[in-house]
Amino acid sequence: MDENRAVNRRQYLTAVGASGLAATAGCIGGGGGGGETITIGSDIPYAPFEYRNEAGDLIGFDVEIAEAVFAEQLDMDYEFQETSFDGIIASLNNANFRVIMSAMTINESRAERVDFSDPYFTAYQTVLLLEGSDIGSREDLQGTSVGVQRGTTGEAAAEDLQEDFGGDLQIESYDQINGAFDALLNNQVDAVINDNTVSASFAAENEEVVFLEGDGVAADRDDAPPYLTLTIEEYGIAFRQDDDDFREEVNGALATIRENGTYEEIYNEYFDG
């Protein structure tokens, strides 16, 4: 991707803050249309989906998908609003923003409160360890402590494991995924359970950090990652339940960017094909 285009995209990303409220008020009700500003709730940072570069510009896979869907396909302005993940659905339903794009997994309990777009990404819950850890399999996690981010499907996967182990798993919940990563480096937890791509980008920067190996639930999929997978999940854009028309428009736009190659271009930029 050439540099000019990337800069262009970032021009849309205005700072969050006072403007958020006005923008939200402006976008309640009504479907798409030129000049309308869509406020997107997102838990930042969650690299490589939404994070800031050294200059403070918001970048990431979700950000570029938002650019392609809202700006290029639907001719709308958009802005991201930072929010904490554990309260993100309540914030959406309280009309603090119009949609959620926050690497959010589609699942049943969330679908009771929000409507999801068609899936736009497949993710797996995976286990990160320090190199040289005694943990060599899923069963070895019994009796250890795992770090997760509060309110995420990583936390849910850890709770499922805890139930499997008859409660013999300590779960430490952090506000941001970086807290859990820090805790791993700082010897506070034995493992971190989180989405594979996010964990992979952290592991790529820390040579002491490795994935737990093994065949997981995704073992027989062609595109399965080469390490233990606890779950297979799909990300969707979340809407309020009374926002069907807009959701349909976004689904159309998602289909278009998959067809015209934009999606693949963005995917390859962040996940090396």
């Binding site: 554990d86 309260g87 659905i89 309540a90 309990s109 009771e112 409160r113 320090l130 040289g132 402590s145 770090g147 509060r150 309110g151 430490e172 919940s173 952090y174 506000d175 807290g179 820090d182 805790a183 480096l185 700082n186 010897n187 506070q188 820390n206 002491e208």
Partner: protein, 293 residues
Amino acid sequence: MATQTESESSGGGVLMRDRLVKRVGEVAAGGFVLAIGGLLAWILSTQVDYSLLASPLIARRFAEAFFLVVQIVVISSLLSVSLGVLVGLGRISTSNVTGRIAKGYVEFFRGTPLLFQLFVIYFGVPRLWATGEFPFTDWAIPAAIIGLTLNHGAYVGEAIRGGIDAVPNGQMEAARSLGMSRVMALRQVVLPQAWRNALAAIGNDQIILVKDTSLLTVIAVPEIMSVFRNINSNQLDPWTPLVWVCVLYLAITMSMSQLVNGLERRSDWGSDSRMFGRLSGLGSGDDDGGEEA
């Protein structure tokens, strides 16, 4: 009613106006109670899911968090008050070195947010070791106690210093003129009075310490707010767990005010020289139950 108060204020003097002010205050306070009471009744009757509220699973999780918070509060309270006495004495030291160090300590821990201090201790300190080499594997609760103690030690220190400053100089001078050393005069004459002066401020600070434990949620201490956040994000129901949170914090802070009130009453009686003896007997719960909050 308006006409009545008007006639009173136009026809009467200062006393009548006092009554008017009193009535206005009563109306405002009554209106406030009605509005808040109505809002609370509405929330409790429409927003709270009582089967979830009474669910043993949730009760158990909140109970665990509550007892953890109580333990953290008791330990941090004892440590921060002890540290505060030392800091307060350092602040009034005749040695320039001690005085300045104590002042620097207070400026730092009072001048930076507790959240920052917790991050330094929990995320920063372990990184001074190589990856995975930090020797304390359950660092969250020790880090919490260290952070709360260092932070509130600074506030208690200032309260003690203020208490000492409020004791008239004549007390020290009289004690010295009787042949006491400065240390002896401080211990026997000035500090007992300073303690009494400082008690209200110390009590205030310790109640803030209780509420500051809510910040521990960001360093993965499974305290009360963490339980709330987990239940809210799983059940998508804020009000039901909020009722628990409110009741549990008030249970701690109101017991604490009772304790402080008891201590203040005690320090008002009798001679100052015996007061420390009585206070030190508090832990064993000797004569009356006033302090057993």
